[in-house]
Amino acid sequence: MAVEVKMPRYGATMEEGMIGEWLVSQGQNVSKNQALFTVEIEKLTNEVLSPIDGIVSRILFEAQQTVRCSDVVCVISESSTEVLESVQSKETKEEKTKPKTEKKPVVEKEQYKIGKRIITPKAEALAKELKISYHGLAATGLHGMITRSDIRKAASSQTQAPVAVEEKTEKKMPLKGARKVIAQRMCESLATAAQSSLWMDADVTDLMSCYQKHKESYKSKGIKISVTAVLIRVLAQVLRNHPICRTQIDKEGNLTVLQSINIAVAVDTPNGLMVPVIEDCDQKTTLQIAGQLAMLVDKARVGALTSHDMAAHVMTLSNLGSYGVTYSKPILNLPESVILGTGKISKKPVYVDGGLFAKDILPLSLTFDHRIVDGGPAAAFLQDFCSALLSAKIEAVI
């Protein structure tokens, strides 16, 4: 019996996926659930697992090749003698069209999923979800099978296990997965765009007092409202009036002014930098933006972002304030033309009309693509943003 492994469809709108890298080679023995290859979509990396114990009898695409969803990527055979048969059937299948029959066709016997089980089906699914390896686990189920409760027990004992002492010897690891993708995109960005940066201070004293006033009432709605959410809303309004900042250039050199003000937010996750997108920020209330931002951050941190969360964006906001950073030099998240970095808000002494006052100052760092946006317009955008922040109000929660 041979099983075809196809390009999965992660999300309804996905048409094709790129094979990131191969983790096995043709002719290699694999066990059920062993990772065969990775699929990259945006910066999400997914592993495709072997459905059965067997041999990788045929690999049909190489790494970095793009494959349409549901096309066969490789074939796993139970024994080497079936290799030829499965390949032949795959090749002839593409020419035939399946005839329509009135009755339900008798299911092909090749697809029977039988064999001795050491784990219950639901426990197996749970193990996959919790990323627990179950081989060798204590089994308390009927007929010596591992059960869901056995998996849960293993999961809780794993989280309680002490952290292993780090080895002193240096480990070599290949650059792969999301890290590799980030590396590629950063280099591509710097190599492609003419990046320049401007820095400015924004007075957010009134905004912060308004924020403190409303923080509790937002909390009562179950929303932890962050400064980032407030900034996104103000940013969106300002972007409306600066079409040059919403202008993007594509690979063919054509310019487009984006109308949907979708703002990407940089999120630091265990798997690296993720940049999910909040759509139509100019049409949302602070409450809505805060809620969506919280959800996206959670999803990003557990690796659950989908392609839906990565829509086309007009600009990125990267807030490093919580790290204590003031000014930065953010790298453009192509294809955007502007990216804004914000830093830690701190009280500074400011001269206003002959008097010295303590003001809440928000450091702003803007990088722009000089191919499209000149320094003047970039500065004007920043200035407008500062003015907006000066007079911004947070709408009260209804």
Binding site: I114, G141, T147
Partner: protein
């Protein structure tokens, strides 16, 4: 002894042998005495014991009412319902009377009787003589429903049923009447309330009742050609059911197909499905499938009757879908 006996002759032999050793046993029903039964099952009994074989008027309520209370008075009646469908006429006596007498008498006595009912479809007798009646009684606490699938079982189960002190509805499927298997000459008992493993297997469990057991065996043989090993269980006693036997098997195979004659809605298969899904959902690798008749009365013309009952193609398709899930 390797002699073969038909289902009807096996029952006849049991009755003779039991009546020889226990004189509290008597038979009662329409045409059971002088004629020896409409299907010949009680032949010879009246000739040996005229006082213990009672022909009655067409009075199902009286037959069962008499039998239930005679059981309370420590006799052991074996009553006959010529066609199981007639249980509708005496439903009250079975369900409201017989089932509840031991409960009412706080265990001191009960309706210890056997009601032999000729059940099932396949002999072109149309809607009032072809039904599978077990669902009518399977949720009445106090009743016992026994359903043999071959002559060997018929003899052993009937002997146990007569000795049992609970009211037993003993279902004899018409299509099994001419079936012949090896039946030991001596009297023997097969235990009630215990399911029987017809065939051992690892990949899928089939639970089958009465005439469907044969179909289950044929299905298993066909699937064996495809490398699948099938575990077949015949409950033998439909109610109370040996749940544990089914749990043991399905928790191991992860797959269950139930073959049952009669309508699907609320049939025996429905209860087994619910029971298994409730208790061992974790172990199921595929949804439980029921292969049953269509939910219609049975018509007369052969093609009409045959159309609505399950065929081996249905059983095979159900198994294959379950295996590929």
């Amino acid at each position: 002894m390797a002699r073969k006996l038909s289902f009807t002759k096996a029952i006849n032999e049991t009755l003779h042998q039991m009546m020889e050793i226990d004189d509290s046993i008597f038979i009662i029903g329409e045409d059971v005495a002088k004629m020896g039964g409409d299907f010949g099952v009680t032949q010879g009994i009246w000739h040996r014991w005229p006082e213990r074989a009672v022909d009655t008027a067409l009075s199902e309520q009286a037959i069962i009412g008499l039998s239930a209370m005679a059981g309370v008075c420590s006799l052991r009646p074996v009553a006959e319902l010529m066609f199981a469908d007639f249980a509708g006429v005496c439903y009250d006596q079975l369900v409201n009377n017989a089932a509840k007498l031991r409960f009412m008498y706080q265990g001191q006595a009960g309706a210890q009787m056997v009601v032999r009912a000729v059940t099932g479809s396949g002999i072109r007798c149309a809607y009032h003589h072809s039904q599978s009646i077990e669902p009518w009684f399977m949720n009445i606490p106090g009743l016992v429903i026994v359903a043999p699938s071959d002559p060997y079982e018929a003899k052993g189960l009937l002997a146990s049923a007569i000795k049992d002190n609970n009211p037993v509805i003993f279902l004899e499927h018409k299509l099994l009447y001419n079936m012949k298997t090896e039946v030991p000459e001596e009297l023997y008992e097969l235990p009630l309330y215990k399911a029987h493993t017809v065939r051992e297997g690892d990949d899928i469990t089939i639970v089958a009742t009465m005439a469907m057991v044969k179909m289950a065996i044929k299905t298993a043989e066909a699937l064996q050609e495809e490398g699948v090993s099938v575990h077949i269980i015949n409950p033998r006693t439909l109610f109370p059911l040996d749940k544990q036997a089914i749990i043991d098997s399905v928790s191991r195979t992860g797959r269950l197909v139930i073959l049952q004659e009669g309508p699907k809605f609320m049939g025996a298969a429905a209860e087994i499905s619910a029971m298994i899904a409730e208790d061992i959902f974790e172990y199921l690798a595929a949804p439980i499938k029921r292969v049953t008749s269509l939910d219609v009365p049975i018509a007369f013309s052969p093609c009409l009757e045959d159309y609505v009952n399950p065929k081996i193609e249905h059983a095979l398709a159900a198994c294959r879908e379950t295996l590929a899930f």
